[in-house]
Amino acid sequence: MIEFKHANKYFGDFQVLKDINLTINKGEVVVIIGPSGSGKSTLLRCINRLETISEGSLTVNGIEVNNKNTDVNKLRREIGMVFQHFYLYPHKTVLDNITLAPIKALGKSKEEAQKIAHAYLKKVGIPDKANSFPSQISGGQQQRVAIARGLAMHPEVMLFDEPTSALDPEMIGEVLDVMKSLAKEGMTMVVVTHEMGFAREVADRIIFIDKGQILEDADPAEFYKAPKEERAKLFLSRILNH
């Protein structure tokens, strides 16, 4: 469903992604880990064309992401994205945050969009916050709204870029729980995270990336037990001793 083939990406002279070959199948949960600055966010952002690859090919559902004829807005409707800093719209209520894209991009009626929004708010465990503004709810709740906002578009795949890194420790669990239940329902997910509990429990694969290169693509249990790559070992020992 997502396929990188010999993909390279440069920021000016600097090569962020190096010969990326990666296939993610429907229903898979893939966790991406790697040191800061290794290109994880960039890799993720290429998938919905927030960044464009410089060379090679990238397809989502068989559609060439960087083809000029590809309707990027249509493509993005199929790809939900959750950011480290949530990026809820501060001037809109929780409900309006969730209904905006379904109404404007999918052409749903307000009533229908609100019904869907309420259903997803219930799913992420905050049905009573529909009329709050983002500034009135906790970070964990904001991130759950962001997830509900993504889900309300009924995407084929959800991308998560360090969704718990900006949260206070006591709120990480509530967000991971929502993500775990999504994973168990069969949602295709690509998740940049260092949360090993999450990776162990629901990930089908772990991708270790360093300096723009995929160094390991492994089963989570095996990866954490014995990473093959020296750099992965080093990285793991660092986050474990954190």
């Binding site: 919905n48 927030l50 807005n73 249509k74 993005r76 409707r77 790809i79 939900g80 994205m81 950011f83 800093h85 990026y87 809820l88 719209y89 501060p90 001037h91 905006l100 894209a101 404007k104 991009a105 999918l106 962001a146 906002r149 993504g150 578009m153």
Partner: protein, 217 residues
């Protein structure tokens, strides 16, 4: 002491001028706000040709005298078969001129909205225009209101230039009264007071809004 008989004897003309100043300022404010916002979006849109159009417009009109724009519209357009009276030509000139400044204020406001907002909206499938309209501009407006208020004050004052094309506003009326009565000082002091009646409350309003917006952030 001011000779207030000037005011009472010419009350109707002053009021006529006051109304016209207020009306041209209001129309120009609305017009230049809409047009200036469009120009701001042009300048930051991800389309090079639009960027250029926006930049050329702003740099051109921001850096020439308002008087030239007003004259060109008033005297030049009839040669093209478009007849504009002083008030119409003056109001359009004010819009053209002020848009350039407002576009800069709006652009600064747009740029102050975190780019994550745009990314969140775009990645949910909203178009560039929808993202602007529903996500970015409503947040930018908060930052734009104080400079916009200042532009409005400038606009009221700048409208006095339109007297030279017989726009019928305050300054024009003052010129007429002065020519008729041979009084200079009192006539213009009184007209200054009329301007203050508009600009002082605006000035206080802007300060008040600035403080309130600063608090809400």
């Amino acid at each position: 002491m001011l000779d207030f008989t000037i005011l009472t004897n010419n009350w109707d003309m002053y009021v006529e001028g006051f109304k016209n100043t207020l009306l041209t300022s209001l129309l120009a404010l609305i017009g230049s706000f809409l047009f200036g916002t469009l120009l701001a979006v042009f300048r930051i849109a991800p389309i090079k040709s639009l960027n250029w159009i926006g930049t050329i417009y702003v740099e051109f009109f921001r850096n020439i005298p308002l008087l030239i724009i007003a004259f060109t519209l008033y005297a030049g357009f009839p040669t093209l078969g478009i007849e504009l009276d002083g008030f119409q030509a003056g109001t359009i000139a004010l819009i053209i001129y002020t848009s350039a400044f407002i576009s800069e204020a709006v652009r600064a406001g747009i740029l102050s909205v975190h780019k994550g907002q745009t990314e969140a909206a775009r990645s949910s499938g909203l178009t560039y225009i929808e993202t602007m309209r529903y996500v970015v501009l409503p947040q930018a407006i908060k930052i734009v209101i104080p400079p916009l208020g200042n532009q409005f004050i400038n606009l009221v004052k700048n409208s006095s230039i339109l007297s030279v094309i017989a726009a019928g506003e305050l300054m024009y009326q003052a010129d007429l009264i002065s020519a008729r009565t041979y009084v200079v000082f009192d006539v213009y002091i009184i007209v200054a007071l009329f301007y203050l009646v508009i600009t002082l409350p605006l000035s206080y309003g802007v300060n008040y809004l600035e403080k309130r917006l600063a608090k809400s952030n």
